[in-house]
């Protein structure tokens, strides 16, 4: 007789801990034949707000870490993803209803994408910063800085690679993030949060919510302590209203664009989550 497997409880990831939704709700995720896969937590407004609090608390530490340190931590995530590669392939294959071969390509690209972003953190300052030759006796320089707390509505057309493509951009630049995972294919994202929890990524730097995109996104779009929102996973007809919500505190809004996730991102993925700070000081004796 075959052994009955131990199933995993798919929970939220907030402030480095794995709580269920405070609402007590969950929702059913099915495979393409309609078979039961899991009951992930259905995050509420309160969960979203808790996640923002955790992300804000983690911001000084993560943005203040050296770029080299962030780089090593992101590389560490790739290392741990590699060691759980088969698990990710199974989940991507199951959730996206694609073959193992295609899922394997996506998972490999996702791991390599972490490595790509890991290498960016200590290059951005040189690429995007400047010393500005002002017409006067002043030393003047500009440096990129993270925008702050980023809400990331993960894309619906890619459960892992699309998420990592956008999450890596936010993390390597020093932002902290609240992710709302792919609604119908959330398992790879939840497993990713387990990887993040054991990769030296400080608690609260990434917070992972699962649930209904239409329900949770407006709370993140209107939240006054969220500095930027990526609407990648939002339905086209909802983009305008959410972008309008986001103007209450002038969030930086990134609207969805069709993407081939296998393709290397442009620099804009990172610059859209950066501010530029310019510092002046007189020169004299």
């Amino acid at each position: 007789m075959s052994r009955l497997s131990i199933r995993k409880t798919y929970k939220l990831f907030i402030g480095g801990a794995f709580p269920r939704s405070e609402s007590g709700r969950s929702y059913e995720v099915l495979d393409k034949e309609g078979n039961f896969i899991a009951n992930p937590a259905m995050a509420s407004r309160k969960d979203a707000r808790d996640a923002v609090v955790a992300a804000r608390a983690a911001f000084p530490g993560w943005s203040g870490a050296t770029a080299f340190n962030r780089s090593q931590i992101l590389y560490r995530v790739a290392e741990l993803m590699e060691s759980r590669r088969d698990e990710f392939i199974d989940e991507v294959s199951l959730c996206e209803a694609i073959g193992k071969g295609k899922a394997g390509k996506a998972v490999d690209a996702a791991i390599d994408r972490w490595v790509w972003y890991a290498g960016w953190s200590d290059k951005l300052g040189s690429i995007l910063g400047a010393t500005n030759p002002v017409a006067g006796p002043y030393y003047n320089f500009s440096i990129p800085e993270p925008v702050g707390v980023v809400a990331l509505i993960a894309p619906q057309d890619s459960s892992l690679l699309g998420l990592i493509d956008l999450l890596g951009a936010a993390l390597t630049t020093g932002n902290t993030v609240v992710v709302l995972a792919n609604e119908m294919a959330p398992l790879p994202a939840i497993t990713l949060s387990e990887v993040l929890a054991t990769s030296d990524v400080p608690g609260g730097v990434v917070n992972m919510l699962t649930g209904r995109t239409k329900e949770v996104t407006p709370w993140l779009a209107s939240h006054m302590d969220v500095d930027a929102i990526n609407l990648a996973g939002v339905a086209a007809e909802d983009v305008k209203a959410l972008a309008m919500e986001a103007t209450d505190n002038l969030k930086r809004v990134i609207t969805p664009k069709p993407r081939n996730w296998l393709k290397t991102p442009t620099l804009e993925a990172m610059t859209s989550l950066l501010e530029v700070k310019t510092v002046w000081h007189p020169i004299g004796v």
């Binding site: 006067g136 003047n140 305008k240 930086r252 809004v253 804009e268 530029v276 700070k277 510092v279 002046w280």
Partner: protein, 481 residues
């Protein structure tokens, strides 16, 4: 202490020739506007200077069409180096006519001639000169190998630095190959209209720059026009949010330079003479009509009394009055409406328990004036510590530890500017890295340069102006395949 007695030293206004009325500058010509004309005045005397056309929705449409034609037929096809040469011409003409611009700016805005002559106009010309050189080097601007212009850009500028804000907007737009419809502020249209004459003298192709005067409704028509590809706005956070809402979910790009409540932090080891000058420059430059003004003074408790005593002494020396006098330090408030806003907000300072002190000065009987004023005993909850006054009013708060200074400095929805005064280099860099603001002035304040990016964090706006970063806002990356 009383002021030294100076004889009046008025700048001559003979250099300017103000027409009795102005139309709209569309497609290379001045045309009649179809809105309701309005008067523009000298805020220092309330003298009517001219009558200005109001751009209607139809006028805005006409201007956008002219800009589109110029973009498609001329400006986007012109070799980049040639485009740059037009900008060099414009820069040179602005230098040649600098005195005319300075006098006209002071007459229409109320700022001291010393500032319009030494700051606004030279910087405006420098912005054109700087961006002229970018025109044929855009592939090095950091937005990929084949950066593209947006197309037609709608630009709305404020009344505090009318010509300078025009140049911050128009110069990068033209250098990158965009064409422009610009709306100057309602109360300060005259230097923009003189700039139209510079375009004529430079031989700039018709429609590349269009200037449509008017108030909020004209600006709204420009923002909502369907054939505008990018909006660039400088003004209040309130209007900036309205623009952001208007363009939400559209393909329009936008940059916003909005309000601020800049913290000017004075540590106990600050060089006192320079600090006092820096505080004065930070809040009384341009009557405090400066979005990046150092309007919150954060003084370390141990030096509070000394700093305040020196500051009051220095403020008593400020010469407030005729903006055309070359000795004047503080000129007129730009409008009756702005004077009303300053007066009302400052009164909440009295009401909420802060202590007011104003520099003793005789204010002219006509025109709009507000004396340089400080409030001490201000707490973070006071409206005068949270809201932008946009006038010569300084709110003074104290702190004990550097960490407290940073926390208080960052405790507003704004994030445009901040100042740091200390003799300790490591403390400057420590504070600069923790202040959530786009421009940090250490042991100086209110410095501007075309090569230096300017713009805010948080609710102070989106994007930068100036430098390579500002240029990039007028370009889009080539399509990603």
């Amino acid at each position: 202490m009383s002021l030294f007695k100076y004889s009046p030293a008025p700048e001559s206004r003979a250099v300017v020739n103000i027409a009795s009325s102005y139309g709209l500058f569309i497609d290379g010509d001045f045309v009649e506007g179809t809105g309701t004309p309005f008067k523009t005045i000298n805020p220092a005397t309330e003298e009517v200077l001219s009558q200005i056309a109001e751009g209607s929705v139809a006028d805005v449409d006409r201007a956008v069409k002219a800009a589109r034609r110029a973009y498609v037929k001329v400006w986007s096809k012109m070799p980049a180096a040639e485009r740059g040469k037009y900008l060099y011409r414009i820069a040179r003409i602005m230098q040649e006519r600098a005195r005319e611009f300075a006098v006209l700016e002071t007459l229409n805005n109320g700022k001291p001639i010393r500032e319009s002559r030494d700051v606004d106009v030279p910087l405006a010309a420098a912005h054109f000169f700087y961006h002229a050189g970018w025109a044929d080097k855009l592939e090095h601007a950091g937005v990929g190998n084949s950066p593209q212009p947006h197309g037609v850009v709608g630009q709305i500028i404020p009344w505090n630095f009318p010509l300078l804000m025009l140049s911050w907007k128009v110069a990068p737009a033209l250098a990158t190959g965009n064409t422009v419809v610009l709306k100057p502020a309602e109360t300060t249209p005259l230097t923009a209209l003189l700039f139209a004459d510079v375009c004529r003298q430079a031989g700039l192709p018709p429609g590349v720059v269009n200037i449509v005067t008017g108030a909020g409704a004209t600006g709204a028509a420009l923002v909502s026009h369907p054939d505008i590809n990018k909006i660039a706005f400088t003004g209040s956070t309130k209007v900036g949010k309205a623009i952001a809402r208007e363009i939400a979910g559209t393909d329009k790009s936008v940059t916003l330079e909005l309000g601020g409540k800049g913290a000017n932090i004075v540590f106990d080891d600050a060089p006192i003479d320079e600090t006092i000058e820096g505080i004065v420059n930070g809040i009384f430059f341009n009557q405090g009509h400066v979005c990046c003004a150092g309007s919150r003074l954060l003084v370390q408790e141990s030096v509070h009394d000394e700093v305040l005593e020196r500051l009051r002494k220095r403020m008593a020396q400020l010469r407030v009055g005729d903006p055309m006098d070359k000795n004047t330090d503080v000129g007129a408030i730009n409008s009756a409406a702005q004077l009303g806003r300053i007066t009302e907000l400052a009164e909440t300072g009295d009401g909420e328990g802060a202590q007011r002190w104003s520099a003793p000065c005789d204010l002219p009987a006509k025109g709009f004036w507000y004396p340089p004023t400080i409030f001490t005993g201000v707490t973070q909850a006071h409206r005068i510590a949270r809201e932008e006054i946009f006038g010569p009013v300084l709110s003074v708060l104290t702190f004990r530890t550097p960490a407290e200074a940073i926390e208080k400095a960052n405790n507003t929805p704004y994030g445009l500017s901040a100042g740091i005064w200390t003799d300790k280099g490591s403390r400057i860099l420590w504070a600069a890295s923790r202040l959530r603001a786009g421009v940090i002035w250490a042991n100086t304040f209110n410095r501007f340069d075309p090569t230096s990016p300017f713009g805010g964090y948080k609710e102070s706006g989106w994007g930068r102006e100036g430098g390579r970063h500002g240029l990039a806002a007028y370009l889009k990356q080539g399509e990603q395949s």
